[in-house]
């Protein structure tokens, strides 16, 4: 881990979100430091995406605070958003824009210099192997290409905080590997990378620290070693995850079905 002495770039304090009577996120507090990759795990409907949306400013918390790059997302939203990049779980993009036009649009939204925008577009299209398709409309892209376009859009302004919701879904192994390498490089350059994933191998291999959320509550945060100490002797992240979230009994059921 290379976070010693780095400032926290994401801070949530007593974060709560209610949807009517339903509590989606309950009193969640954690920090993500510059230079680290933080994995955010949890079963379906645990509150991962809701937490992410509050971090990125897409959703107003019912209570609690979120700070991104030191800026309060509620009080200084423009400064917080300018410092962050976001990759949603579904790559919804303007279908009638080309990849190049979309990146130019994003660059303008972040008020980048015109020359920098054009240079960055070429870099990112080349990096993600989208250069040839750069002038084609996005609705002609495959899911994987759209996913890479979203990531390119999130990287346009070289954010200090990168938040990714299931970034490797729908990607081929080569693209998935490339994204993992990019995230590592970003963290090495001092950015905070926050990613949610269901693929526990990715979390185990890539993440410096891991947070596990279940039914809206953060039940564990720490390095792999720290998480192991919380469990009952489990060594793999999968076993720890199932032990903490109460899914271990499903393994027995699966065994019976065989």
């Amino acid at each position: 881990m290379k976070t010693t002495g780095n400032p926290p770039l994401i801070e949530t304090k007593n974060l709560i979100k209610h949807y009517g009577d339903k509590i989606a996120v309950n009193n969640v507090s954690f920090e993500v430091y510059g230079g680290e990759i933080f994995g955010f795990l949890g079963p379906n409907g645990a509150g991962k995406t809701t937490t992410i949306k509050m971090i990125i400013g897409l959703l107003q918390p019912t209570a609690g605070t979120v700070k991104v790059a030191g800026y309060d997302v509620q009080l200084q939203p423009l400064l917080a958003k300018a410092a962050s990049g976001y990759v949603p779980d579904t790559p919804n993009l303007y279908p009638k824009l080309s990849g190049r036009e979309l990146l130019r649009f994003v660059g303008d939204l972040y008020a980048l210099d015109h020359n920098r925008i054009e240079r960055r577009i070429d870099e990112l299209l080349n990096l993600f192997d989208l250069y040839q398709a750069g002038d084609d409309p996005i609705d002609s892209y495959s899911h994987g290409m759209q996913q890479k376009t979203v990531l390119a859009a999130a990287l346009m302004h070289d954010p200090r905080v990168l938040v990714l919701d299931e970034p490797t879904v729908g990607l081929d192994p080569r693209s998935a590997r490339m994204i993992k390498d990019i995230l590592r490089q970003m963290a090495d350059r001092g950015a905070a990378v926050f990613l949610s994933t269901h693929i526990l191998e990715i979390a185990e291999r890539m993440c410096d620290r891991i947070g596990i959320i279940n039914t809206g509550e953060l039940i564990a945060v720490g390095t792999m070693d720290e998480l192991r100490s919380l469990g009952k002797g489990e060594t793999s992240l999968e076993d720890i995850f199932l032990s903490l979230t109460g899914g271990a009994e499903y393994a027995e059921i699966a065994e019976v079905l065989r």
Binding site: Y19, L58, L59, L93, V106, D108, L109, E118
Partner: protein, 589 residues
Amino acid sequence: MTDAALGNAQAAGNLWHYVGKLLWLRWVIFYSGFRRAKLRGKISTIVLGLLVLGGLAFAFTLSLLLLRLLRSPGLEQFIGDTRLLIAGVPVLVVSAAFVGILMTSFGVLLQALYLAGDMDFLLSAPVPLRAIFIAKLLQAILPNFGLILLFGLPVLYGLGASEGYNVLYYPLVLLVLAVLALAAAGLASLLVMAVVRVFPARRVAEVLGFFVAILSFICSQSGQFVRYSDLSHDQATRAFTLLTRLNSPWSPLAWAGRSLVDIGEGFWFSGLGLLLLTLVLTGGVFALSLATAERLYYSGWARVQISTRKKKAIYTRRSATAQNRELTVAVSRAVPSALRAIVIKDFLMLRRDIRNMSQLVTPIIMGIVYALLLIRSGGQPPAGRGEAPPVFMELLRNLMVYGNVGISLFVSWLLITRLAMMGFSQEGKNYWLLKAAPVSTATLLSAKYLVAYLPTLVLSWGFLVAISLVQHVSLGTLAFSLAVVALTIAGTAGLNLTFGVIGANFDWEDPRHITQGSSGCLSMLSSMVFIVISLGLFFGPAVLIKLMGGSEAVGQFIGLVLGGAASLACAFIPLWLVRKRVSRLGEAS
């Protein structure tokens, strides 16, 4: 590919069992949708059903009366012998039904085979492929067949009743229409596959929607230009001759119609012969189309697109980018980059998504139609007997000039309600991009305002200048009118955009379904009321001062001050009131 691969090894009885199951599933989906719909939706569906039944009865009565009219001696004097025409009615209806189902099935089958997204699920299920295709074809036919029956059945039954045809005629009408519908749907399925082989299905659906919308609108408006009172004897005769030509002995569609007439009149030999020929021919077309469609789909031919697009040379793109760069840099110095980006993006999206275009072109067509009508009338008040006082005539002429403003504002109202009301909603599921970006509420509102205001202003000014030039309106009046239009549109944009924020809906797939709830209706109503009031404020002083013998220019100035103040208030105050709501848009409650 073997028959077994197609699932045809299953017994024929099984096939129809599966067809029945798939159709039942469709019914369950429809019924479930009806059951879960809001009370308003349920009542609307029931009322629609009752209206359809009422329409059937009305069409039957109307057809009966019309066919009796066709046999009247008075009409025979005007267009000659009508017996041929009456005998041609079934041919006409049957031909129209065939062509109608062929055309409408195209769109429905495009949806059912390529866009519904259930084909892979169905193909992976242990269901014969043929059953899936039959069910899809029947699904495509049923709604259109209902429509054809709605319009065609009353005419054909009316003909039977007025001509005293025998009782066998009535069920055979249904049979003939049904087999023709099956054949038409079969051909439509092949046509769909051939088109989708070349163009992406979604694009085809967009283009189809655009043309259908425009064509329907042009047809509905073309009545404005037709002067039925000018219909000459020659024109009527030629029209009826054209109709009777459909009844050619060499046309397969005519065989179907003729078989019905012959059977109805008791000419059994020719009637049954032609009927048999029709059944064999349509059955053959349906079976052949079905088998071919199955094979084309299953083999992948109809699912793999041939590339017709040529890659543009990269240097062309690069040079174009370089050319645009200077302009972009110049603009970016004057306008904040985020504002410019949103405006450009919205214009690109509006222009490129043809489904939006069909809605945007409507006001332009309306504007052209009404402008032409106004120009055709000469733009002058009727002279009457010349007894009206000159001041009154002058006033009337001034009002006619302001009538130009009225048309211009009507066109702009149609356009701006679409552009401003949908400003936020058209972002759809892509709104996260704007929401996650460091864009202030003021920038966002300004951008959406400009996207609605600028094209509307250009269009309405264009209409106003064109009509004013044709009518030789004075430069002073034109300048006043331009200012009135610009200010009124500013107020209308503010009002509509406010309702667009209140009723923003990001959860849609098809732009035609963007509008949700009552805010769209309220938006149109409030902006219409505003236009009427603002026009009163703009023109009232000028008209009153003119009546009192004062200077029109003074009246116009007072009007500009009053109307301008009201317009600017409507442009800014409502948006200021909803500004806090903007930052919370796109968040589930």
